[in-house]
Symmetry: C4
Subunit: 127 residues, 4 copies
């Protein structure tokens, strides 16, 4: 078996982000997640930068993905150091930066119009 | 942290495009988006070429993604210099060309049969 | 602008194929498509090989994607030289081979349980 | 035609896994699948490792994908040597290791809130 636990990349991009402002009644609320896997032996310290269509980027959303752990970072729950949250109802994009190699997948669950819709894709790595 | 803001590619392909001609009543209309992220320091000038199954390509749909911005290009709203729009209800494909490195993701929201369905994928880059 | 129209690959793989045997009443029927884009100047001659869980592969499903055209190959409609069709209700996988470089995306629309669900991904290229 | 049947990779990662604990009445149950294609001439012996947010990885889930076959590994059905199953309702991630080159795609069908939602992506290969 392959034992290279250093696989992955340190910078990933997700162009299509959108935090729906509506959730229909039901089990799920509309949300997005930046899903990180850290297969390595050292904790990964992660910074998210948010890009918008008509304003300056928001920088400095922090997260940790411990060694040999996953972290499904919920974008409806994350806050920066000043308590800012991800804005709802506007198109945005994300750059994910890590000090350790990680693998990043982005998913969105939208229940604006019940029942629900799902989408996912690997993020785009800088190799 | 990685400071290479030049990441991305200048040509991207999306084979599966389709602009549904039906939308059910609700919050969303059926639509597609070519979601662009420009993490660099210079504005990106973008041209879309549309390929069809049985006719010549339509060229010259223009867009801009400013430096450190995202642009979620709505394909139901874009027009070429002659006012032509994306045709509905026919299979097509897109080539995205940019004068700066960008990252491109394609998404479709279909409400033909309510409630709604979502799909997304990174486009295919020429490296 | 980039003028390399030779981009793409000649072999692509799609591990998760499934042709639902059920469609709910509505505008759409459940179906899969292998969406091909040929941005080059020469017609692409394409062969699909189907892999199954417990039987020999089915070979020799043919299609053409003309120069500067797309072909959204409907898997519910394609037939091999002997008139065989894609079997319904069983897991399978596809290898796409082409004599010209192409780009391949796979999508499925499932209306087994109305309303509808969509999924898509770029296929995996051999580079 | 290309005859390189050795294409693929031996290690693949899937950061966003989730086994829903709820299924609505209907044809489908909520489930995930790790869809493997082995286009080569030798059987592939596969091991899945599961990563979590707050506990040690679960190792040693085994599967086989025979030569020139596909295996859509259902994560709601797989068991390790001790009879352990994939836990429901918690975020996790998967590393797929194989002794032969394979191609891996991950899909999820969620019927928590009827009707149903689908998502898919190629896994991330170590090349």
């Amino acid at each position: 078996m392959n034992t290279d636990q250093k696989a992955g990349a340190k910078v990933w991009y997700i162009p299509d982000c959108y935090y729906p402002s509506i959730s229909s009644p039901g089990h799920y609320v509309s949300h997005e997640a930046v899903c990180v896997l850290n297969p390595g032996k050292q904790d990964a310290h992660i910074t998210l930068t948010l890009y918008f269509e008509d304003r300056e980027p928001m920088r400095g959303f922090q997260a940790v993905c411990k060694a040999e752990r996953t972290n499904h970072i919920r974008l409806d729950k994350i806050k920066d150091a000043n308590g800012n949250v991800v804005p709802q109802g506007v198109p945005y994009a994300i750059m994910v930066e890590s000090d350790q190699p990680i693998i990043v997948q982005y998913s969105r669950l939208d229940t604006t119009q019940a029942e629900m819709a799902l989408m996912t894709t690997m993020a785009y790595p800088v190799k």
